[in-house]
Amino acid sequence: MALLSAEDVVVRFGGLRALSEVSLDVEAGRVTGLIGPNGAGKTTCFNVITGLQEPTAGRVMFDGIDISNKKPSKRARMGIARTFQKLEAFSSLSARDNVLVAAEQRKAWDKSKFDPRTVADETLERVGIGDIAQFMVGTLPTGTARLVELARALATNPKVLLLDEPSSGLNEDETEGMAVLLRRLVGEGLAVLLVEHDMSFVMGTCEHIYVLDFGRIIAAGSPTQVQGDAAVQAAYLGSAAEVA
């Protein structure tokens, strides 16, 4: 049974169906991809999983528990962390304090002994931004601020990590570094759900991919299966040249 799964999730905004019966599973120890053209509903899907968006129907299961009615903070405490496509860093705190807030928060549910300050410093080092710890996040370039968000998410010691376009704003080297980091994280048993437009990044890191189009899952499978899928090519990869 999957660690995290969305079951027949529907989200309606007025007359618009942003998500129609979306079901997906996120397994521990691997990167699951969620791709699709702009506006397909990927971010909405993240919002439903993290509790920022109440689904019109359907439910979200985590670790065998129905978490559909739980508050976002409660879900975070259970082990769901995320980053945002549109930056949501704590812009008037320093990079270190961004991560420290999360690490200190972890004290509320993680009974193991740790010093939040050490966790914050280590996590910053881990994502490779130890050198900008004292900078205010509001003044950092987008790519770096994304890494701060990643560090912040990791500092909560999550079981599932939802990444919303982590590579946008990063250069090629940094993207490669991100891929290495993700592989190491899933090697440690973390489950990752990845929304991404950089196809080579997606195909290189994901073991299982869901393709979302107009709020529906139109294909799912391994990278090779998905790439070969006719519906996917029509809906998405056909325009991949412009996207990538």
Binding site: A81, A89, S91, L100, F135
Partner: protein, 742 residues
């Protein structure tokens, strides 16, 4: 979950209904329920309600088309009504001419002027800044009106067609003025709706709210649209002002207070639905008329009638549907962060105490002369008052500055604290009483906030304002809270370590120094708190509630905690307020008295505890200026005008004066090399940052941009791919002109 939501709404409705029935039952007057009395109620209620509706509609139109909630709406309406009086009554112009000049020349000119000079700069500003600037504008308009038209001369606007009788509805006479009012309200309703739905301008207006950038790309001109909606807002404000003046009397206070009514109607409309704004106006009008006709409040609650809009506002907030957790706004900040160290905080505290003590002892030669800041008994008394206000501002630092929760209630809470102090020890000068007051005021602070916590930040500002109004009209007038007789509620001097502190001339020096010590201690405490996880958590919530929730921060608990802290500090300030006045009267806490405090703190920079001290010193400037100028009559409203004008500067420096000044001053300290480097960085950045937000707004598509500049613009506008995704999908309407959801 949805079921749970609905059943709690039903339960809430039952409680409110029971409460209302109880109030009605207890205060039932002599008028019998009859067709005649109901007809009277409907005639009065509809005409007042119609005016409220016009007021609220203007507010909703500006808010929904510009995203800025105009707290100055009522004050502008009041100013325009005075202008109308000047032309119509003072200069004897014919009514149609005066109406035309006021409503079609003056009002749009004010609206466009405000938009061009101020409001456009606020588009991307955090809510705190938007609120402060429009509240500052409100005080400015009040101050200007009071300066031009001195309140000691009675003025009146007549009803339209006062002489003729009107129409008989059964046995009740509906005067022409009232009929006109209702018709005008209806006309405005139809006009506004037609404008927004059938005209090109209106459609652009709605498009601009949905997505300003997108609307710009499709050919709408955001600047024209926002000017138009500010003009429209001012016109409706002026119209409502002119219509309501004969009912409330042409006084600044009465008329500006109508904003609470307009806010209540706007809250019923969820700030965006025009039909519901009208319905809200009518509901409030009818409730007011019902109370006027059928209820007779006892002596203890003689002002309860005036609190009805505030109560309705509070009730409306209870029933608004839960808002989605808000995402963040980028706050302008410095590049690196360096928190005040404990030693620096200690040094700062000592400097504060030292400065005040030196002044109080007459050791500062420059200030002991006959001019500014002379150390007379009067100035010592004033000094105590200013420091007490500084304490109240201090209570707002964690709340507004860190957690981003705007509260206008802290002055009222301090008042309540002062009142309570009399009951728990202040009547015989006990220091323990201070502690009890803090214990009482902490939950009070949280209680006021709770209805608004699940809603958007703006509602919190409205809720706290409603509380301040309710406290003024009901709480403080209740004889068991404050003594309503001429002597007022009395306080005995506070005795600590053999010193006596009170408003008594002989005790003033000790009191002033004691207050400075209190401020310094709280200053130090707040600086330490700023380094703690609590402050980090609060700032995180202010920066991005959504992200804060997803790292496990319980928003409700954290917000309640900061409100409780703020309430306790305000309570402490309240005990000092009582002492500094010696005797407290029931009418010392009008809503407007507390606003300048919030504004002055914001001017100095609400994130910095030192701003409270600077704000307190700043208060001395106004009476000092008055004295230096020989107390001329044109300066009488400076306590409103001064803070009002000062805070408008926030549109240009949103972080407050302490932000830059603090950095520059810190750079003078030998060990603060970081501050000097920071300054150098900012200066360098200003030089190459040639794309300003205004330019971006005005850019159109004619100018060539380098890739680098486009990246800069993207970042400034916070454009993520999502915003450019299928236009039809992103435009999930923020403005609905039908019924609100839920």
């Amino acid at each position: 979950m949805r079921l749970k939501g609905r059943s709690s709404t039903v339960a809430g409705a039952l409680v409110v209904a029971a409460f209302v029935l109880y109030i009605v039952n207890v205060n039932r007057g002599a008028t019998p329920y009859s067709w005649q009395s109901f007809a009277t109620m409907v005639v009065v209620g509809l005409s007042l309600g119609g005016i409220y509706a016009i007021f609220a509609a203007g507010l909703v139109v500006t808010y929904s088309t510009t995203g800025i909630f105009n707290f100055a709406h009522g004050a502008i309406g009041c100013f325009l009504a005075f202008c109308y009086w000047e032309m119509r009554v003072n200069h004897g112009w014919p009514a149609p001419l005066a109406l035309f000049v006021v409503l079609f020349l003056l009002a749009p000119a004010i609206g466009v002027g405000l938009d061009v000079l101020l409001m456009r700069r606020l588009r991307f500003a955090p809510l705190v800044v938007q609120l402060m600037v429009t509240v500052g504008l409100m005080l400015t308009f009040m101050g200007v009106t009071l300066t031009i038209w001195k309140p000691n001369t009675p003025r009146a606007l007549q009803h339209f067609y006062e002489s003729s009788k009107g129409v008989h509805v059964g046995d009740v006479v509906a005067t022409w003025h009232r009929i006109i009012t209702v018709l005008v309200a209806l006309g405005i309703a139809v006009l506004l709706r037609t404008l927004l739905y059938k005209t090109r301008l209106g459609i652009s207006m709605r498009a601009v709210v949905d997505n300003r950038n997108l609307a710009g790309l499709t050919g709408a001109r955001p600047n024209v649209v926002s000017s138009a909606s500010w003009a429209l807002g001012c016109m409706t404000a002026g119209l409502a002002g002119i219509l309501i003046a004969p009912e409330t009397g042409l006084t600044v206070e009465n008329m500006t207070l109508l904003i609470v009514t307009a806010f209540a109607a706007a809250a019923i409309a969820q700030l965006k639905s025009l039909p519901w704004a009208f319905a809200g106006g009518l509901i409030i009008g009818l409730c007011g008329a019902f109370a006027q006709v059928f209820l007779s409040f006892s002596q203890d609650f003689s002002y309860a009638n005036e609190a009805i809009p505030a109560v309705i506002l509070f009730i409306a907030l209870l029933f608004l549907p839960q808002a989605r957790i808000e995402t963040g706004t980028i706050r302008l900040t410095k590049r690196t962060e360096r928190l005040t160290t404990p030693w620096e905080a200690l040094l700062g505290s000592l400097v504060m105490v030292g400065l005040v003590s030196a002044w109080a002892n007459g050791w500062i030669p420059w200030f002991s002369g006959t001019h500014f800041g002379q150390r007379t008994d009067v100035w010592l008394g004033r000094g105590a008052t200013f420091l007490v206000f500084g304490l109240i501002m201090m209570s707002l630092v964690p709340l507004i500055g860190w957690a981003g929760q705007v509260s206008f209630a802290n002055y009222a809470i301090a008042g309540f604290g002062a009142a309570m102090y009399h009951h728990v020890g202040g009547q015989h000068g006990s220091p323990i009483g201070i502690f009890w007051v803090m214990v009482i005021c902490a939950p009070l602070g949280a209680l006021i906030a709770i209805p608004a916590l699940r809603l958007k930040g703006l509602y919190l500002a409205l809720a706290t304002m409603a509380f301040a109004e309710f406290a003024d009209k009901v709480l403080f007038r209740y004889p068991r809270i404050l003594n309503p007789t001429a002597s007022g509620t009395l306080y005995k001097p506070l005795r600590v370590l053999g010193f006596q502190m009170s408003s008594d001339p002989g005790d003033r020096k000790a009191f002033v120094i004691f207050l400075a010590i209190a401020i310094a201690v709280i200053f130090f405490g707040l600086q330490m708190l700023r380094r703690s996880r609590w402050a980090r958590r609060w700032i995180a919530i202010a920066d991005s509630p959504a992200a804060a929730a997803t790292v496990g921060i319980n928003l409700t608990v954290s917000k309640v905690a900061v409100f409780a802290l703020s309430g306790a500090l305000a309570g402490f300030a309240g005990t000092m307020l009582g002492l500094s006045k010696g005797a407290l009267a029931v009418d010392e806490f009008p809503l407007f008295a507390g606003l300048p405090l919030v504004l002055l703190l914001a001017v100095w920079g609400s994130r910095y505890p030192v701003a409270a001290f600077m704000g307190a010193l700043g208060l001395a400037i106004f009476p000092a200026l008055q004295e230096m100028a020989g107390n001329p009559t044109w300066l009488t409203s400076i306590e409103l005008l001064g803070p009002g004008l000062a805070v408008i500067g926030m549109a240009f420096q949103p972080e407050g004066a302490a932000f830059n000044a603090g950095r520059d001053l810190a750079g003078l300290l030998p060990w603060r090399r970081d501050a000097r480097e920071e300054k150098a960085l900012v200066v360098a950045k200003l030089r190459d940052d040639d794309v300003t937000r205004d330019e971006i707004n005005d850019l159109g598509l004619t100018r060539a941009f380098t890739v680098d500049k486009i990246a800069k613009i993207d970042r400034a506008l916070d454009i993520a791919d999502e915003m450019l995704e299928r236009p039809g999908i992103v435009v999930a309407s923020e403005v609905t002109h039908g019924a609100p959801v839920g």
